[in-house]
């Protein structure tokens, strides 16, 4: 088939674009004519020079990198983050065709809701013989504790995704239903942001349907489901999940709180969020963890990511879930064999959009059919929930030797599915367009007016002609889908037209506060370590003599901190930065991508330094670079982060760590035993060389150093300054019930503050400094029991 009748000249762009015979193609119709919906786009693309195309694709890639979009690769070694594999060329579909798809899928969504309600209710479909009992009773996705539950909203399903493909005759069909916890809606938005940067020209972009309306409608629905005065949140399995990025992104985009199971508790049937203000009632949870992991008490007992009692809260009626636990049942592959008939039974209608032809191999007739047609079948587990063409499932393309024996022995555990041929769509390869197989993921949300659909956004594109290579894990890529209208469509974002509208104040989960506090501490501890090591190497570069008294004292101090300078950059330093990164990774929804990138950059740089840097001058210089990078991160956070409660916990951790580090420093370098030159070390590490010169007429004495670094309320490096900072932040955080005696936390800090103010420098002996440090250390326990539980 050659696209000879195309109205366009065959540009170099399309020189190699030859769809295979017997395969539908998105760009060219069966007669080889370019479909009208593509023409403006291809014309425009063909008008670009290769350099221009490269620049534009670079813009898209740059956007994704800046935004920090990644997915996580499973399998093999430790989980790895990979850049988002964007296929730069979008898939174009006409508005009219899209509308037909959505009409069919709206019916299918309704059908799935009815099947779900039946199987967790009266199970008439089984009793009446419409669905085999073993596909339910033996199905690990059928969660028995949910049987008999009535969802508070009256509905089990609120968010679905459908994987669809185009068959050789040009019609669309459903490859699989995603009902457990569909992923991809947030990535679709990122696809759109990236392609908008690549194809930024007003035309043909003006005619593309926007995605924001879908999210606005879905968010409004969730607000309604949450109920008055109750919170709504996303429940994530945590940073190790393959789509964690998306959870943080959607949480930010829609203004939802991102929670993990341990952020929640259930009391008297009501789910509550543990926040720094105490318990806040929760009305809606958008679940991104599998149903079975939701509640270790009633479901999978080994789950570390669930909340004990959560099923009880759903049963009690005070909590809506998107979707109800147990919805994974609808992804069962064998159900595809029955849905067309169930549509007739439950809705009295014919299924408008067919699904992939499926035979459940339980009954002898189906087994025989699958055996006879094994050459054009994919055979897999009946209860498997993986999509066809997903990597990692055990689907085999028949015929396989011993298939007959396997079918006879295990028939009811197997399905045959037609080995479908997918349509191809243009993908960019070496400066040209080539046809690649594709499927489209369509996202649906239930609103008060029925099911609504995201107009485009997400397609999976194969790496080669092989349809099996569609999965991202197998090297496939992802493309934007443009639904193209006949005329320009109005712009649309989440922003409403009626002036600035402030969201209600957010909540800070206790766990997030805890992580932010420790992020503050670890970053400050790392910064302190860098300053110390740099001071060490500078001195070593001057004298090269580690045995002189001040250097011996210095080495002893470093050793006490785990920073023994037997190598230029001790292991402890990258470990501290790693600990900071670890704490930050658990609160990524609360950072700008810039902050996160800066921290990653810092961690990578520190890892590279270890073992690579030579002694002395070289090391001091590398440490200076590291110091600039860490200051850059602190600057990003402290200059740009909105001063919500989360920022205060970060600052609290930083202040406490700095006060602690300075007390240690002073104890080591200002005592009567300290060798000559020790005071200069304290001043330098305390970053107060200039200030000391300006404030004191004479060279350093223990009194001047203690005055400046312990007792000065104006010096940001001084202990007193940091104690005052801690008190300042705590006063602006949620307070315990007023009345009664002064809380211990406030008392300890006020006493520290006062003691430092009234002390004479001579009073601040090494013992006294140690005692102050001990009292300061007790503050963490008090903060923790007030805010982190």
């Amino acid at each position: 088939m050659t696209p000879a009748a195309a109205p366009l000249p065959r540009t170099a762009l399309l020189a190699d674009y030859t769809p295979q015979p017997g395969v539908a193609d998105e760009l060219f119709d069966g007669q080889g004519r370019m479909r009208p919906v593509w023409q403006p786009f291809i014309t425009q693309l063909a008008s670009l020079s290769p350099e221009d195309v490269a620049t534009r694709f670079g813009r898209g890639a740059q956007y994704l990198r800046d935004a920090g979009v990644y997915f996580r690769l499973y399998g093999g070694g430790p989980a790895q983050e990979r850049e988002w594999p964007l296929s730069h060329v979008p898939v174009l579909i006409s508005d009219a065709e899209w509308q037909g798809i959505c009409d069919g899928l709206a019916q299918r969504a309704e059908l799935l809701e009815r099947v779900m309600a039946d199987l967790y209710g009266p199970a008439r479909l089984v009793a009446d013989g419409h669905l085999p009992a073993e596909l339910v009773a033996e199905n690990p996705q059928w969660l028995r504790p949910m049987v008999g539950v009535t969802p508070a909203s009256g509905h089990w399903l609120h968010h679905l995704a459908f994987e669809i493909g185009r068959s050789p005759d040009g019609s669309f069909f459903v490859l699989g239903d995603r009902a457990q916890a569909p992923s991809g809606a947030g990535f679709a938005l990122e696809n759109r942001m990236a392609t908008t940067r690549i194809f930024s020209d007003p035309f043909p972009r003006a005619n593309i349907r926007r995605l924001a309306g879908f999210f606005r409608a879905f968010r409004a629905t969730m607000e309604h489901l949450a109920g008055d005065g109750r919170r709504m949140a996303i429940l994530t399995p945590g940073p190790n999940n393959d789509t964690y990025y998306e959870h943080t992104y959607i949480a930010r985009y829609l203004g939802l709180t991102l929670l993990e199971g341990e952020d929640l508790i259930v009391e008297n049937g009501q789910a509550m969020v543990r926040t720094v203000k105490g318990l806040e009632p929760l009305g809606l949870l958008w679940r991104r963890i599998d149903g079975d992991f939701c509640d270790p008490l009633e479901l999978d007992e080994s789950s570390q990511i669930g909340t004990p009692g959560l099923i009880g809260a759903i049963r009690h009626g005070g909590l809506n879930l998107v979707n109800a636990p147990g919805s994974g049942l609808l992804e069962t592959r064998a159900f595809m064999a029955f849905l067309p008939r169930l549509c007739e039974t439950l809705l009295g209608e014919t299924l408008r959009l067919p699904n992939i032809a499926t035979w459940w191999c339980g009954p002898p007739a189906e087994r025989a059919y699958v055996m006879a047609n094994a050459g054009r079948m994919m055979i897999g587990g009946a209860l498997d929930t993986a999509l066809p063409f997903a990597s990692g499932n055990d689907t085999v393309l028949g015929p396989e030797t011993a298939l007959a024996a396997r079918l006879d022995r295990d028939g009811r555990r197997l399905v045959g599915q037609e080995a479908v041929t997918l349509s191809t769509t243009p993908a960019w390869a070496d400066g040209k367009l080539v046809p690649r197989p594709m499927t489209i993921r369509v996202f649906a949300a239930r609103t008060s007016e029925g099911w609504t659909f995201m107009p485009g956004g997400y397609a999976r594109i194969g790496k080669s002609d092989d349809a099996m290579a569609l999965a991202m894990q197998a090297g496939g890529s992802v493309a934007d889908v443009w639904v193209v209208a006949d005329r320009p469509v109005p712009a649309d974002t989440l922003v409403s037209g009626s002036g600035p509208e402030r969201a209600p104040p957010g909540i800070l989960p206790a766990r997030a506060a805890d992580n932010l506090y420790w992020l503050g501490r670890y970053v400050e501890r790392a910064e302190g370590a860098i300053r110390l090591l740099r001071a060490w190497h500078l001195r070593m570069a001057e004298t090269g003599d580690a045995s002189e008294p001040r250097m011996a004292a210095f080495a002893e101090h470093l050793a006490g901190l785990g920073l023994t300078p037997d190598r230029p950059i001790p292991e402890t330093l990258p470990m501290l930065i790693g600990a900071a990164r670890g704490a930050a990774s658990k609160v990524r929804d609360r950072f700008s991508p810039d902050g996160w990138n800066a921290l990653n950059d810092l961690a990578r740089f520190a890892d590279r330094l270890t073992g690579k840097v030579a002694e002395n001058g070289d090391a001091a210089q590398a440490l200076s670079v590291l110091l600039r990078k860490i200051s850059g991160f602190s600057g990003l956070v402290h200059e740009n982060m909105y001063h919500f409660a989360g920022w205060r916990f970060l600052s609290l951790g930083r202040a406490q760590e700095r006060a602690d580090g300075t007390l240690l420093l002073l104890a080591a370098f200002t005592g009567p035993e300290a060798p000559p030159g020790a005071l200069e070390i304290a001043i330098e590490v305390g970053d107060s060389v200039m200030t000391h010169q300006r404030r004191y007429r004479f060279g350093p004495s223990p009194e001047t150093v203690l005055d400046l670094l312990a007792q000065d309320a104006q010096n940001p490096r001084a202990v007193l300054y940091q104690i005052a900072q801690m008190r300042h932040h705590l006063e602006r955080l949620p307070q315990p019930q007023p009345g009664g005696e002064m809380p211990e936390l406030d008392r300890v800090l006020l006493t520290l503050d006062t003691d430092l103010r009234v002390a004479r420098p001579a009073d601040l002996t090494v013992e006294r400094l140690g005692e102050l440090r001990h009292r300061l250390a007790g503050v963490f326990g008090l903060i923790s029991s007030r805010y982190f539980r």
Binding site: A133, V266, L297
Partner: protein, 300 residues
């Protein structure tokens, strides 16, 4: 036989544990062949919330929670129960016919199809399947198959409370041929399922002192576990105790039934504590003379 049952389970934590929530399956209920009189479950310290109900399989469940830190928990059960004698099954359907008999049994709570597939704690294990197959008589009936597997397992295993704990997988216990009633029962369930017999786990009580002239049974010091297996629509569920190499009859009182230990565990709980904890477990199942009233304490 009528019994007066007393059970005490105590937990103590080294550090007070925050937000304790437990799911208890401790209360026996009426079943075919079993009648339960008064039953009282006392929980100390008194929980801040308590909800009694039934689970999917019809077991009595109690969900309790404390909204304050607790460092000790105590569950006291006092119940009166009567267990009717059960005839030792003689005849039954042939093993090869069982699959056909399962058709049409639906998905109601005790339908055999719930008990055929792998369950959370009982995955298919090739060595157990092989062992079970080797134990089968020629052209067996279902009851004969159940007894044959149970007896062979009992003879192959050594009862050893130190060899396993409550989380040990059947595969591990079987590999070492050592364990306690929970291991015996879960291994046997896996073996029966591998040959197509629907099988589940039963948790309950065993009479403390044997009838005169009979040996003391294993497993009387704590809650006991044994096996239920489906033998066709007429015989229904049969119960076999591989730990004691016998059908579970008059000496047994059932508390909970499920696919495996996870479904029937006496206490499931989630603690937010990293510290160590201790458990104490005491059971008395005393046969009652006819007409003797059971004295039940009131809830404090």
């Amino acid at each position: 036989m009528r019994y007066d049952i007393r059970l005490t389970i105590e937990y103590s934590y080294a550090a007070p544990s925050d937000q304790v929530r437990n799911l208890l399956r401790l209360l026996p209920a009426d079943l075919p062949g079993q009648r339960v009189g008064a039953r009282v479950l006392t929980i100390t310290p008194a929980p801040d919330e308590r909800r009694d109900g039934a689970d999917f399989f019809g077991n009595s469940v109690t969900q309790v929670g404390w909204h304050r830190p607790v460092s000790q928990l105590r569950f006291d059960l006092r119940a009166g129960a009567e267990r009717l004698p059960a005839a030792v099954p003689q005849d039954g359907p042939a093993l090869v016919d069982l699959a056909a008999l399962m058709a049409g049994q639906g998905i109601g709570p005790m339908a055999p199809l719930h008990f055929t597939a792998p369950s959370p704690r009982i995955a298919p294990v090739a060595t157990i399947a092989e062992f079970a197959r080797a134990a089968l008589p020629h052209a067996p009936t279902v009851p004969a198959s159940i007894a044959a597997v149970g007896m062979a397992l009992h003879d192959a295993m050594t009862f050893d409370p130190d060899a396993t704990d409550v989380t040990t997988a059947p595969e591990t216990a079987f590999a070492n041929r050592r364990g306690v009633c929970q291991d015996y029962a879960q291994i046997m369930v896996g073996g029966l399922r591998s040959m197509g017999i629907p099988a589940g786990y039963v948790s309950g009580f065993l009479r403390t002192t044997p009838p005169p002239g009979q040996p003391r049974l294993e497993g009387v010091d704590a809650m006991h576990g044994w096996v239920m297996a489906w033998a066709g629509p007429e015989l229904g569920w049969l119960e076999y105790d591989p730990t004691n190499r016998q059908w579970a009859g008059e000496d047994y009182v059932t508390v909970a039934r499920g696919r495996d230990y996870a479904d029937a565990a006496p206490v499931r709980g989630a603690l937010r504590t990293a510290g160590a904890h201790d458990t104490r477990h005491a059971v008395d199942v005393i046969p009652q003379e006819d007409g003797a009233a059971i004295n039940l304490p009131g809830r404090p």
